[in-house]
């Protein structure tokens, strides 16, 4: 291990601005090509900060009664959707700071929202149902009830949506809502990540394992032995590396060659508390990880999944989420106290 310490000099990360929202910062994202950062909190507020200075551009405290649960930035960066315990989805114009459409989904919590890669569809899950809306917010279809509350949703392509719940992953045709494929496994799937080509589906499971399927070959595998439940999962932009949490170590599986079955993963060790979130940089081989104690580490990975830390930083409390700026040159962290901090990335170490 290089001589990097979580409390040591923040090599590779230069602190930029800090700001605060009203409560636990639940979700966020960069809009307008990184010119603004949006953050939603547990008190239901939506805040927008200037990407360069951190100045509050506008704030709507308590707009989602009961709290914000999810947020998705439109691929264009000019709009975003927020969802909450109030059973509503709000679609916002990023530049105007105005709600362009409010959708009443129902009385349940809206726990997941996701834009399709082409920005034509917005998917949202509420309890056991997933619904698809057009870009204007008009509902196109809704699914039957899943066997349990939907834990995660993701687009495998512009034409296909995936949902995860207890016992299965289901693929839906984006325009008709018809089932395209069901992958079943007896276990509670708590998180999901799809490779960029949509072929590999990885799910963290309640029983402290990661289950994944290759859709083209219908081959499935289970990686077990995690000390905790792997709720944090992230694929790199090439789809060859899958980073997983589920403990204090970050475990990186490589899908190169015949892997990861029968291979040893890269194990990135520096955190002293369980990892809460993982985010790969939009390009290159940098991975950011954060933990319950507020520690943040940026790693530079090699092809096989091994890697070394190139920067560390610290928030005051549990880090809820990390967001890379679209240009990959800044990283925003949201924590449980409602603090928001942005670091600029020193790319001297970047060899990719």
């Amino acid at each position: 291990m290089p001589d990097l310490n979580i409390d040591g000099p923040q090599a590779g990360l230069r602190q930029g601005w800090s700001a605060a929202v009203g409560d636990y910062a639940i979700a966020g994202g960069w809009t307008l090509s990184g010119e603004a950062l949006v953050v939603g909190d547990a008190a239901g507020g939506i805040y927008v900060f200037d990407g360069k200075s951190g100045a509050t551009v506008w704030a709507f405290p308590g707009i989602h009664e009961g709290g914000v649960l999810a947020m998705a930035i439109h691929p264009s960066g000019t709009a975003f959707a927020t969802a909450g315990q109030d059973g509503r989805i709000l679609i916002w114009g990023a530049a105007e700071g105005k709600v362009s459409r409010a959708i009443d989904v129902g009385s349940g919590w809206v726990e997941n929202v996701a834009w399709s890669p082409d920005g034509q569809w917005l998917a949202a899950s509420c309890s056991r149902q997933v619904r698809a809306y057009g870009a204007d917010g008009a509902e196109v279809w809704r699914s039957d009830d899943h066997p349990s509350t939907i834990s995660a949703i993701a687009w495998s392509s512009a034409e296909e949506l995936a949902t995860a719940c207890y016992g299965r992953v289901t693929f839906f045709d984006a325009s008709s809502g018809e089932h395209r494929q069901k992958l079943e496994w007896k276990g509670s799937l708590v998180s999901m990540a799809l490779s960029p080509d949509g072929d590999i589906v990885a799910c963290g499971s309640q029983d402290n394992s990661v289950h994944f399927w290759r859709r083209s070959t219908e081959q499935d595998s289970m990686m077990s032995g995690y000390p905790g439940k792997p709720s944090a999962l992230a694929f790199d932009h090439t789809g060859t590396l899958l980073a997983t949490g589920g403990g204090e170590a970050v475990t990186v599986w490589s899908f190169q060659g015949g892997g990861p079955e029968g291979t040893r993963p890269g194990v990135l060790e520096l955190h002293v508390q369980p990892v809460t979130t993982l985010a790969f940089a939009p390009r290159g081989m940098r991975l950011a990880s954060a933990a319950r104690d507020g520690a943040i580490v940026v790693w530079l990975l090699q092809g096989g999944g091994r890697g070394s830390p190139v920067g560390t930083a610290r928030m005051a409390d549990l880090v809820a989420n990390l967001y890379w700026r679209p240009d990959g040159r800044a990283l925003a962290a949201l924590d449980a106290r409602g603090d928001v901090t942005v670091w600029r990335i020193d790319s001297r170490h970047d060899r990719s």
């Binding site: 409560d23 636990y24 649960l69 509350t149 207890y166 509670s188 000390p227």
Partner: protein, 448 residues
């Protein structure tokens, strides 16, 4: 970063109609200064301002390994996961399950999920029992049986709908099933908040401090009569009965309500543990002493009680008044009717599949043999063992070892030092079709 205190969680179970909603409303409306979040699976009309009420559908998640103790409640993980993000908004969580809920997965959620375990601690399981209908329910459903087996507190509710004798019998039956639980009687779920919140039933750091013994006593007496007496001499007479002798403790200043009777009973348990003074017919019975009335002569036998000031006396007798046709008369020969009466009959029918096994032994235990025995027991019978609790005197250790568990989940740690107190062991297992003899032998083989 501060390590925040874990938020305590109580689980409230009980069949439909047992009074869960009434109890919930009571807890929420009482001035206890706690901010309580409520997770409901049965959507009631609870609408209390200070409470954060969240409805959730029961979702039971079994794992691919098929292990029963890995089964958790997905809805709780999800709701609690969101609640902990607003932890400054509440101090306590109450989970109200449906009438048909199996308490196992609910309890296991607090041990099996690492994120929940980091933020919340299971405080205790409270089961409401409808005194008027539980007998029928017990015959028909596994869930009601398991709700009783898992409980730390059994609230015997709607006692106004059942006569005292039936109530005593029911309580005895419930105690046979679960000797670990405290039994509280109520009419309209009117129990104090302290009996259901802050139980620390799963907290090994506190469990011995709060309850030095895990066993609810099996009373050595079957009957109590309370008599209101003026000054004077009274005659206690008994006809021939099933035994040639009967133990008795007379309590002065006895109250008549259930709480007072229970308090008297606790006090008498300790008197009963003392050697008895033999009293022959014609002799006087001392107050507050364990006496043994000698009844081996034929015919009606009389003993005397001297009362020097107006007082209520509680007679805690080894057998029921009926068995010996026990009568108390004053100097004029007038029979005094008791002001209150209750039986403590441990019916010992054991016709329930679910029961408690309590093992109490003096001495030290060999740690390796204990470990082997417990591991095998949990591996083979873990599915049938709902709860267990105990403390052990491990050979060579200066501190008590305390443990508790749910199914195969086992948790143990050293507790307070033995000091000069006699070293002993107490274990309680609540389960289905447990073989008491085999378990006793198994534990005894661990003793040194």
């Amino acid at each position: 970063m501060d390590t925040p205190q874990k938020v305590p969680v109580s689980i409230l179970t009980g069949f439909l109609g047992s009074g869960k909603t009434t109890l919930l409303n009571r807890i929420l409306s009482e001035e206890h200064g706690k901010r309580i979040a409520v997770i409901e699976n049965e959507y009631g009309e609870v609408g209390i301002d200070q409470a954060l009420v969240i409805d959730a559908d029961e979702e039971i998640f079994e794992m691919s390994n098929g292990c029963i103790c890995c089964t958790v409640r997905g809805d709780l993980i999800r709701v609690l996961g969101n609640l902990m993000k607003r932890r400054d908004k509440f101090d306590y969580v109450l989970v109200e399950t449906t009438g048909l809920a199996d308490p196992g997965p609910v309890a296991q959620t607090f041990f099996m999920d690492d994120e929940i375990r980091a933020e919340f601690s299971l405080d205790g399981i409270v089961t409401l029992v409808d005194a008027a209908h539980v007998e029928q329910q017990l015959g028909r459903s596994d869930e009601s049986t398991e709700q009783i087996a898992f409980a730390d507190v059994l609230v015997l509710n709607k006692t106004d709908l059942v006569n005292d004798e039936a109530l005593d019998k029911l309580e005895a039956r419930l105690r046979d099933m679960n000797r670990m639980a405290q039994v509280v009687r109520s009419e309209r779920a009117d129990v104090s908040v302290d009996t259901v919140l802050n139980l620390s039933a799963f907290d090994l750091d506190q469990v011995l401090e709060r309850r030095p013994t895990f066993l609810e006593p099996e009373y050595p007496f079957e009957w109590t009569g309370v008599y209101s007496l003026d000054m004077g001499r009274y005659e206690l007479s008994l006809a021939d009965g099933p035994d040639p002798a009967m133990s008795l403790v007379v309590v002065s200043g006895q109250g008549v309500d259930d709480a007072a009777l229970r308090e008297g009973a606790e006090w008498c348990v300790r008197r009963y543990a003392e050697p008895a003074e033999l009293i022959r017919p014609g002799e006087q019975i001392p107050v507050a002493k364990h006496v043994n009335l000698q009844l081996d002569s034929l015919g009606r036998k009389s003993f005397f009680l001297d009362v020097d000031t107006r007082v209520r006396l509680g007679l805690y007798a080894q057998h029921t008044a009926e068995e010996f046709d026990l009568e108390l008369t004053n100097a004029d020969g007038t029979t005094i009717k008791q002001e209150a009466e209750r039986t403590w009959v441990a019916q010992h029918e054991h016709d329930d599949e679910v029961g408690s096994i309590a093992i109490e032994r003096d001495g030290d235990v060999d740690p390796e043999r204990l470990n082997a025995w417990l591991s095998e027991l949990l591996r083979e019978r873990g599915v049938d063992i709902f709860r267990m609790k105990g403390f052990i005197s491990l050979a060579g250790e200066s501190h008590r070892f305390v443990f508790q568990g749910v199914h195969m989940l086992f948790d143990g740690q050293p507790d307070s030092p033995w000091g000069d107190s006699p070293r002993r062991n107490q274990l309680v297992f609540i389960g289905r079709n447990l073989d008491e003899k085999v378990m006793r032998q198994g534990f005894e083989a661990c003793l040194i």
